[in-house]
């Protein structure tokens, strides 16, 4: 593989470049389609966020693209190589950090990375050197010789990421990389990923957090029950679902509409209603203050029991996308 050698000999001449393309990708288990009709066009050096709840098909998509699972239909190429026809060639160009940490608990952090390097067929000295570089880079140098089973969740994630970076991947796959991390570790990880993208790495990550997809991804695919329900840039998605929201809890169902109307002039998109909890959620125009909303509610005579400002979540995406009142314009793919 001539181009790989060039890249590894002098990466500044040819930075890692490789996009991901999927056409009609589907995976069936028995009668159930875990994934159906997935189309992707990920440009080299960009980040794709696969957004969805548990069981939406995110992990299935990652497993197919990383050659761990074969598709029931459709096709995909990673860095220009067909995943079904040449899985070995794909494996040499990708890094994978699965949802479940895939490092060996009974070995030290360094031994894990050296092992992965050796299995990437790096010479022994080079594998050791690369392990040290990555331990340093991911702030694990102080724990390099510690057994991995003693690591915290965040340290394990970082080591997992390091393991997936050993061979300088063109495309990096991360399955819910920040699930279970505290906010600080999450921010740290985002920072590392941004550095990687700056260096030309293509990243596909899955997440349940809209905020995460928004912060990191150039392009977002929203999956639900294996199907793509939205596809576009974070801006497109926001234009559709709005940004920050104000939740207003009212004493009765009849008050829901009343409250929504009172807040209409602050709304950046259609409101969503929770009839069980008696909460109306209004995406608000940037710069709106809580006080303005309170005054508006008060002057309309809405008896607001509770008022809460928050960021939009994945649930809001689904509520909006499946809400008949939501704007019907298509998000451009």
């Amino acid at each position: 593989m001539y181009e790989t050698d060039v890249r590894h000999t002098n990466p500044s001449v040819q930075p890692p470049a490789g996009g991901v393309v999927a056409r009609g990708l589907g995976k069936r288990y028995g009668e159930m389609w875990a994934l159906k009709d997935l189309d992707l066009d990920v440009e080299p050096g960009t980040v794709l966020g696969l957004l969805g709840h548990n069981g939406a098909g995110k992990t299935t998509a990652i497993r197919i693209l990383t050659t761990l699972s074969s598709p029931s239909e459709g096709s995909a190429t990673v860095a220009g190589i067909d995943v079904a026809a040449q899985p070995g060639a794909v494996r040499r160009r990708i890094g994978v950090a699965a949802q479940q940490a895939t490092v060996d608990g009974l070995m030290s952090a360094r031994a894990n990375l050296v092992m992965v390097g050796r299995l990437h067929h790096l010479p022994k000295a080079r594998a050791r050197q690369r392990a040290d570089e990555l331990l340093e880079r991911l702030e694990l140098a102080d724990n390099a010789d510690q057994l991995v089973k003693t690591f915290s969740g965040g340290m394990r994630r970082r080591l997992d990421l390091a393991a997936s970076l050993v061979a300088v991947p063109q495309v990096l796959f991360l399955d819910e990389p920040t699930t279970g991390l505290d906010p600080r570790s999450r921010g740290d990880l985002w920072e590392i990923l941004r550095d990687l993208v700056r260096d030309g790495t293509t990243i596909i990550l899955t997440t349940q957090y809209l905020e995460e997809a928004d912060k990191l991804a150039d392009d977002i695919v929203v999956l639900d029950h294996g199907r793509t329900v939205a596809h576009g840039s974070p801006e497109d998605l926001k234009a559709q679902i709005g940004d920050d929201r104000i939740d207003v809890k009212v004493p009765s169902v009849s008050e829901l509409d009343h409250a929504a109307r009172a807040m209409e002039r602050f709304a950046s998109a259609a409101p969503t209603f929770d009839h069980e909890s008696l909460i109306v959620s209004v995406p608000i125009v940037e710069g709106t203050s809580l006080m303005q909303v309170m005054r508006a509610l008060d002057s309309s005579g809405v008896d607001a029991l509770d008022l809460n400002r928050r960021q939009a979540t994945l649930d809001d995406v689904f509520l909006t996308l499946t809400d008949p009142d939501a704007p019907t314009e298509e998000v451009p793919a």
């Binding site: 050698d5 590894h8 074969s70 040449q86 070995m107 050796r118 880079r137 702030e139 300088v168 550095d195």
Partner: protein, 290 residues
């Protein structure tokens, strides 16, 4: 990571040359070196949990002492000493139990995420199994050395030429290999590592005790004597005894394999290998693809 000052991940500098083979990780040399990396992983595990080695060292040693000094006095063997008789039996039982090692290790790997990491790497697929095999074989070899040394201490000797003794050692290694592959297959077959010990006890204990491993076949009731006479373990043990020149304790039940223990034992091992290796590879492919 706000304080990072080290070089960026994708800029490893001019030393980052890599001697990557221009193929898909196939070829004997790559298979071998990948296997050694995996075997090194098992060795690293033993360094972390040295108790793992007790199974193949202290446990058989206890059996030697138990049978040499506790039971041995009560068991007579015509044509020689019981201590010389029982060493082959303990060897075979230890090696047979050795199959729980790879079975547990592989079943554990399969329940953990690490197998997905291995599968997403460009290393040769079969190297994972071969690595386990090499590490386990090293453990079994250690077991053989420990047992024979202990045997020498309690009075066991060989009474044949170097050719026959080598033949016995080769047969032991062959049997160990066969048991490792059987264990590999079991490890790939069971759903959890806890199941392995159960399978081990249910299969290995009856198989080894209903044989000539510890008592002469003629001391058993007629029905059991016939079972023991056809038990492959009796044949294996008999072959090792013949090759070492240890007492065989003739039996009145005449089965063909027992009358020709050495060729029969080699045949059994080869058949077991011929069945277990392809079955393991097939099961591995099945367990690691969807």
């Amino acid at each position: 990571m706000t304080t990072i000052t080290s070089p960026p991940v994708t800029e490893p500098g001019p030393t980052h040359s890599r001697t990557e083979p221009d193929h898909e990780g196939r070829g004997i040399a790559t298979l071998w070196s990948d296997s050694l990396v995996y075997a090194g992983r098992n060795i690293a595990h033993i360094r972390q949990i040295p108790e793992k080695l007790l199974d193949v060292t202290v446990q058989p040693l206890m059996f030697v002492l138990l049978f040499a000094y506790v039971f041995g006095g009560a068991i007579g063997v015509s044509g020689g000493s019981y201590r010389e008789y029982v060493i082959a039996g303990i060897l075979l039982q230890s090696l047979a139990f050795g199959m729980t090692g790879p079975a547990t290790a592989i079943a554990t790997d399969l329940t953990e995420g690490v197998i997905d990491r291995f599968r997403s790497l460009p290393a040769t697929r079969a190297a994972y199994l071969l690595g386990h095999f090499l590490a386990e074989l090293a453990g079994m070899a250690l077991s053989i050395v420990v047992l024979l040394t202990a045997g020498l201490v309690v009075g066991w000797r060989t009474h044949t030429n170097i050719g026959h003794v080598s033949g016995a050692l080769l047969l032991l290694v062959l049997f160990a290999s066969a048991m490792i592959w059987v264990g590999t297959w079991i490890g790939l077959k069971v759903r959890s590592p806890d199941a392995v010990m159960g399978v081990g006890f249910v299969v290995i204990f009856p198989l080894t005790f209903l044989s000539s491993a510890f008592v002469p076949i003629d001391t058993l009731p007629t029905v059991l004597a016939h079972i023991a006479a056809w038990n492959p373990i009796s044949v294996m043990v008999g072959a090792v005894r013949v090759l070492f020149g240890n007492p065989v304790a003739p039996t009145s039940v005449h089965s063909w394999p027992l009358l020709h223990p050495v060729p029969a034992a080699y045949l059994y091992c080869l058949v077991l290998l011929a069945l277990a290796i392809p079955a393991s590879l097939r099961q591995y492919r099945k367990r690691t693809s969807d």
